[in-house]
Amino acid sequence: MFHKPFQRLKPENLIIIYKLLNDSLLLWLALFVFAMVAEGLIPGIVSQHLELYKIAFAMLINIVLIRKIREDAQIGNADILSKKIAWPLFFIFVLLLFNSMLKLDIYLSLFILAAISTTVYFIFKAFQEE
């Protein structure tokens, strides 16, 4: 029922929308990462003006639409964003995590960071396995 509107569109238009949605996802992601880094440095600087859940919600809608159009337009399951931006995102994630543990002892922070990074790496690998 949800995918019917897309089936009425011409295939080439559907692909253009799909491509634009990928572009917009990148823009939302850039905004979200920027907002997270800014909030990490100065809490409240972005969230006073724009609640972060709104960006997260917009990204979720965007991802759902991408998946729907991919199914309707029968586009292959290509790795688009994940490989290109996984490492920079992981680096930012580590920085934000370290920033959130500023008040802790430095060695304890590094230990927690190493433990979380290893866990995330293995979870990622587990999901990658066919």
Binding site: K19, S24, A78
Partner: protein, 447 residues
């Protein structure tokens, strides 16, 4: 080469050209929205509101509007003709103008004319002025060969020959002018055969004690004693004195207005309570200095009742001392009034740390606007406040006067910044300071 996130999803040449146009428009729109967002963050506006229909609502960010004192609040939004209505709020940042808006109640009569004045200072300094305060209890004073002790607020004269009998050294007394003595009422003379008067201070072994109601109250630490008195004021005694004046179970701790720290928290002491300061921004915006923070022990912290957070909206508590930059005139906050400490000697008897400085101009400098009618029955007034930005304090006090009585539903106040180079510089400086406060540890002493 064109930027394409989904290169493997191909399009015909004609459709690809269409995609490029849409993609360019999408990125241009994103940059435009980012620029608008940046302007909103940099030239931030702060909004405050008060609803007369819900005066107890937690959403009200303006203190209850009142006539002169908090005892006379404006009830149900009914404004009397010709009377000054006061309303306050705490705003941080450098603003260019304040816009006050208030929709009028639909059944109320229109406003013919009116004006609003705004002042900026610390809220406690906008309190009405109370009677001047004299020397602190325990002060040892001399004038023209006469010696005095301030005991329970009164100035008590030592009878001739009493000083050596009680064991005081003349150097322990500070020389004051006769006019300084008139701020403490005269009390009973001190006679040698009656023992020590209340508020006598003793040093027994290495501990300090204060005599109150014939009992010796011990200071919780030397730091606590030094927050109230000087060592010269203490009379050295041995433990025999306990046979005459028993030890009280109630210890004495830091003076009102002291800043104490435990762990990473900093507290203000006032009236046997401590108020935890919510963050370093509040600490600095309220005029406190890190050098004045005293490390307290867990036992000392436990002596106090911990009360609500001290935030940017909070008023400086009782015991806080302010001093003018221009002529070092001192004021002490007590019972919702500011009291003049009439001389430097009197101020010194109360002060063991730096006072909060402010400009005397802040009490006189004001900006004004005339109320105008806007759309849909609402009224507004726009006040330029650039001239107030250099003044210390976070509190803005608005004084509204209407020529005819009316009823209003709520009050909205917006502090706005002009898009200017100076405001951009102020924003960058503010960000720098906030990052510094967050990442560079403050010199708060360890216990």
């Amino acid at each position: 080469m064109w930027f394409d996130l989904t290169e493997d999803v191909t399009l015909a040449e004609k459709d690809r050209a269409r995609y490029k146009k849409f993609q360019t428009a999408l990125y241009a729109l994103a940059f435009l929205l980012a620029a608008i967002m940046a302007v909103r963050v940099i030239f931030d506006a702060q909004n405050f509101t008060f609803s007369f229909a819900n005066p107890d609502s937690s959403k009200n960010s303006i203190a209850v509007p009142r006539y002169q004192s908090a005892d006379f609040p404006v009830e149900n939004g009914r404004i009397s003709a010709g009377r000054d209505v006061y309303f306050d709020m705490a705003a941080t940042g450098t603003f260019s103008k304040a816009v006050i808006e208030f929709p009028q109640d639909k059944d109320a009569s229109g406003i013919n004319s009116g004006s609003i004045i705004v002042k900026k200072s610390y809220q406690a300094l906008l309190y009405p002025e109370g009677d001047p305060i004299g020397f602190k209890d325990g002060s040892l004073l001399k004038n023209n060969g006469d010696y005095y002790l301030v005991s329970q607020g009164a100035l008590r004269h030592f009878d001739t020959g009493t000083i050596p009998i009680l064991g005081y050294a003349p150097e322990a007394f500070i020389e004051v002018a006769p006019e300084e003595l008139r701020f403490n009422p005269a009390g009973q003379p001190i006679r040698g055969d009656e023992g020590y008067p209340d508020n006598s201070i003793f040093k027994i072994d290495s501990d300090y004690y204060l005599l109150e109601s014939a009992q010796l109250k011990k200071f919780s630490s030397e730091q606590a004693f030094l927050s109230q008195y000087e060592p010269r004021q203490a009379l050295e005694k041995n433990t025999d004195i306990f046979s005459r004046y028993p030890l009280s179970e109630i210890p004495i701790s830091f003076s009102d207005g002291s800043l104490i720290s435990y762990g990473e928290s900093v507290y203000i002491v006032s009236d046997n309570k401590i108020l935890p300061i919510n963050n370093p921004v509040t600490f600095l915006e309220k005029g406190f200095a890190w050098e004045d923070v005293i490390a307290a022990s867990a036992d000392e912290i436990a002596l106090y009742e911990k009360t609500k957070l001290f935030t940017i909206k909070s008023v400086h508590p009782d015991g806080t001392v302010f001093a003018t930059i221009e002529n070092a005139k001192h004021y002490m906050v007590k019972d919702s009034k500011k009291h003049l400490l009439p001389s430097q000697n009197i101020a010194d008897s109360w002060l063991r740390h730096s006072p909060i400085t402010f400009s005397e101009k802040s009490l006189e400098t004001a900006s004004q606007c005339e109320i105008k009618q806007g759309f849909f029955g609402s009224y507004s007034c726009e006040i330029p406040i650039t001239s107030l930005q250099q003044l210390a304090g976070t509190n803005y006090e608005f004084i509204m006067k209407l020529d005819n009585g009316t009823k209003i539903d709520y009050l909205n106040v917006s502090f706005k910044k002009d898009i200017s180079r100076s405001n951009l510089v102020a924003f960058v400086r503010d960000i720098y300071n906030k990052i510094k406060n967050r990442y560079v540890p403050q010199a708060v002493p360890a216990p």
